[in-house]
Amino acid sequence: MRKRLIWTGIFLLFSNALLSQEKFRRVPPYPEPIKEWRLPRLEVAVLSNGLTVGVIPRPASPWLSLQLMLMVGESSSPENLSGLATLTARLMARGTTFLSSTDIEDRIESIGGKLDIYVSFDRTFFSFKFLKENLDEALSLLSQIILQPSLASSELDAVRRSLFYEIVDRRKEPESLAERQLLRWLFKGHPYERALFNEDSLRLISRRDVQAFYNRYFRPEYAILILGGEINLSLASRKVSHYFNVWKGESSSIPSIPVLTPLSERNLGFIDLPRAKEVNIVMGNILASHYVGDIYPLLVLNQVFGASPHSRLFMNLRETRQLAYLAFSQIEVFPSGWLFLIQVKLPPHSISAALKEIDRELSRLTKEKIPAAEVEQAKSFLLESLPLELEPLEAMTRRAAEILALKLVDDYWNRWPENILTLEASRIMEVAQKLFSVPMSVVIVGDARLITNFFEQSDKVKVYDAKGQHLYTISRGEEK
């Protein structure tokens, strides 16, 4: 009896402790006090040949990340030779006056390095990451690639072949198919259209075209070189100058690109992807603004609308109505215009209902003021998630290069927290009304046999092949 009492006492003692602990387990804890954080200082110098050099400190990092960005991209390729900018940039890393393709690979791997080359609508990136003790070797190698590329015919075929396989592979990806078709509409007649090249134009490109493109556009005054890691501006400028001083500038201005304009009518397109179980929808339009002050309300607006799993689009389409598996939106900022995109993955039977809900959510942005709590939540997310986004060193240097090219260092880089914190719902609504009054065009990719109902309900659906060729139009289920 005495023993039982003691055991009961012990049990009560422990269970009381557990019960008192249970209280704090019941609800999520408050966060710790938030620390003020600013983006690391981006220091910039311009060398005598016009090359801009920037540095972002990341003390104690064993890596250096280098971004050499040229403010020239596929939009600078001649109209009948789209793909030339990509082919040229890739070919540059396949041999120089003194180094073969194999030598370059050896050199990169011997310094623990990785070199990626990427060409966009209006930019070319040579993204080089290497161990910090190898700065001289890395700059020496990169300067040879940039200043003395051999642009050999034998390597041209190999690069063309590998690009061809990439294009073919991309056609198997429904998201890519849909996005490229939408961009074909949005960029029709604009130089950006050339970035949507296919294998046909690649076949026409000769070594002479590559050489001419290289001679014309690879100039220091078009370039920005950013170094991120344990380095300061004085050392970076000295070293970069040592290896790149023979790169001669001609003080010419960066090629101008016409302004993008929104489509005034809604297009509805379809690409058949037999055996696809899911449907992918991409919709969007150009946003007609160039005022930098509109960027910050637009980012908050996008956060509220569709940037994360807690945004309205995802919560409505997936969580509340179970119409979609995924639904997100994004904003791309180009020097010649801003692009708004919505991407949705959903089952075939949900297309009509999902499109209706997306339109309703878009319309809400222009008609209803966003509640203050939702605005504050979006602002907190943007402020707090930035360090997470920029934790990989390449992400930080890439962002810095883009901001520098857009001349937004003072406004965006240095004043990011203030620009977000001071925003109010009325300003966000003003921007929504200004930019979101345009119709969003829609591309659907899926198995045609599974979405006949949608075709029967739709007035006019233009059907395309994977290369963007218009095949026929469906009206109320009938082919025209």
């Binding site: 804890p29 104690a60 690979e105 990169i108 791997e109 011997s110 997470l388 934790e391």
Partner: protein
């Protein structure tokens, strides 16, 4: 035993939280154990206001029993389906709401859950992780949902991913025992038959503090972090002590040559492997360097010859793989036609003969060392990378103080060691080849 003696022993055990030990290489961290046996590793880095939290459990697909293949995978999935105070998918929701990214990774010997969040949200992550360690919601309904999602993924991959089944078959050729050869996501029939009680047993046995490690890397105050860890984790009851897993004998016997017809493949391919030493063997560091000489990176002998110089293969991948005490140098390559398989095998044989008959040059060895060094630093780049790395080391290295020494060992390998081991291991008896034909 008298009750008082029992209480005295119990209380001394309860108070046995270990002293903090400091390690400075490969980067500074401290570690200790809570009273319930939970390992804790703390590595401070205030360069950005972020913190990564990893919780690793010493259980993987190797603990699946025959007839229950896929149980570890199912439980990994269920860890996001709710716990005592957290609803289904709320873990994901809480973390992504503050800008973080929850992740999980299952291997044959470990299951790791990790996320990176803004540093002031550390209490939230500790609350979430402790809640699911304390008690997971494992109802029939939850298991049905997780099973359906696991089966869906399995079926989707089997019927849409070319070469998927060929990888499973090759695993079975290399590892004749069930524990190491069955796929992480199990077999359809096994997954179908798993019950909530099976899952509960598995959770009770393996998802316990004394079989887990909690690792924090990033911007936090160590004293405050210790307080929070104690608050959320110390009262979680210790699980029963697990008996040490018996080592499974290596039974592979080559040469093995097989053919498999893949109905989904649009091009032929082949798998090739040589049995080598396991991770605990003193020979393992030499195989690590051999991996870089032969397979890893564009400058490796096989990539350069097969992919670039002779263009025998369209793509290739591979490296050194270890499961328990077994190790294999593995390679998978896709080719344009079957003639290329023969030519590739001949070319591989040529490169292996070169490795066996002459010493690698100092330049080749230095290149391999540099690639190894760079990969190692790449594995430690972000706070999440380091949290996962330390969690893995907690279970896989003999002691955390040994990590730096262990990582340095491949850098001391000599050309004569490589030649010796190549002759001993890269032989016909250790070779397996699976040819994949198109239908």
């Amino acid at each position: 035993m008298s009750l008082f003696l029992f209480l005295a022993i119990s209380s001394s055990l309860l108070l046995s939280q270990t002293e903090e030990k400091s390690v400075s290489e490969p980067f500074p961290f401290v570690y200790y154990h809570l009273k319930n046996g939970l390992g804790v590793i703390l590595a401070e880095d205030s360069s950005l206001p972020v913190v990564s939290v990893a919780v690793a459990y010493g259980v993987g697909s190797r603990q699946d029993k025959p007839g229950q293949a896929g149980l570890a995978f199912l439980l990994e999935n269920l860890m996001f389906q709710g716990s005592i105070n957290v609803g289904p998918m709320q873990h994901f929701s809480y973390i992504s709401r503050v800008g973080g990214r929850p992740n999980a990774r299952l291997s044959d010997d470990m299951t790791i859950f990790f996320q990176t969040v803004p540093s002031h949200q550390l209490p939230l992550v500790l609350w979430l992780e402790s809640d699911r360690m304390l008690g997971l919601t494992i109802s029939e309904e939850h298991v049905d949902r997780a099973r359906a999602s696991a089966l869906d993924e399995l079926i989707q991959r089997r019927f849409s991913e070319p070469f998927f089944d060929s990888f499973l078959l090759f695993d079975q050729l290399l590892y004749p025992d069930f524990a190491r050869s069955h796929p992480l996501h199990g077999y359809e029939e096994d997954v179908m038959s798993l019950t909530a009680e099976d899952v509960r047993d598995f959770f009770r046995n393996y998802y316990v503090p004394n079989n887990a490690v909690l690792c924090l890397v990033g911007d936090f105050n160590r004293k405050r972090a210790r307080e929070l860890i104690e608050k959320y984790f110390e009262s979680i009851p210790k699980g029963r002590e697990l008996p040490p897993e018996p080592e499974v004998a290596m039974t592979f016997k080559g040469p093995v040559y097989k053919i498999y017809v893949d109905p989904l493949a649009s091009a032929p391919a082949f798998h090739l492997a040589y049995r080598v030493a396991g991770a605990n063997s003193p020979d393992f560091p030499a195989f690590k360097i051999m991996e870089y000489i032969l397979i890893r990176g564009k400058t490796s002998w096989l990539q350069r010859r097969l992919l670039r110089r002779e263009r025998l293969v369209v793509r290739m991948e591979g490296g050194l793989e270890t499961r328990g005490n077994s190790g294999f140098l593995r390679l998978f390559a896709v080719v344009n036609n079957e003639v290329m398989i023969d030519r590739s095998l001949k070319a591989i044989d040529g490169e292996i003969s070169r490795l066996k008959s002459s010493l690698v040059t100092p330049e080749e060895l230095e290149l391999a060392r540099n690639k190894y060094r760079a990969d190692l630093r790449q594995r430690l780049e972000t706070t999440a990378d380091r949290a996962v790395f330390l969690s893995e080391m907690y279970f896989r290295s003999p002691s955390l103080e040994e990590i730096a020494r262990m990582l340095e060992r491949p850098l001391k390998v000599t050309p004569s060691e490589i030649v010796g081991l190549a002759n001993r291991f890269l032989t016909e008896e250790n070779l397996a080849v699976l040819r994949v034909r198109i239908r």
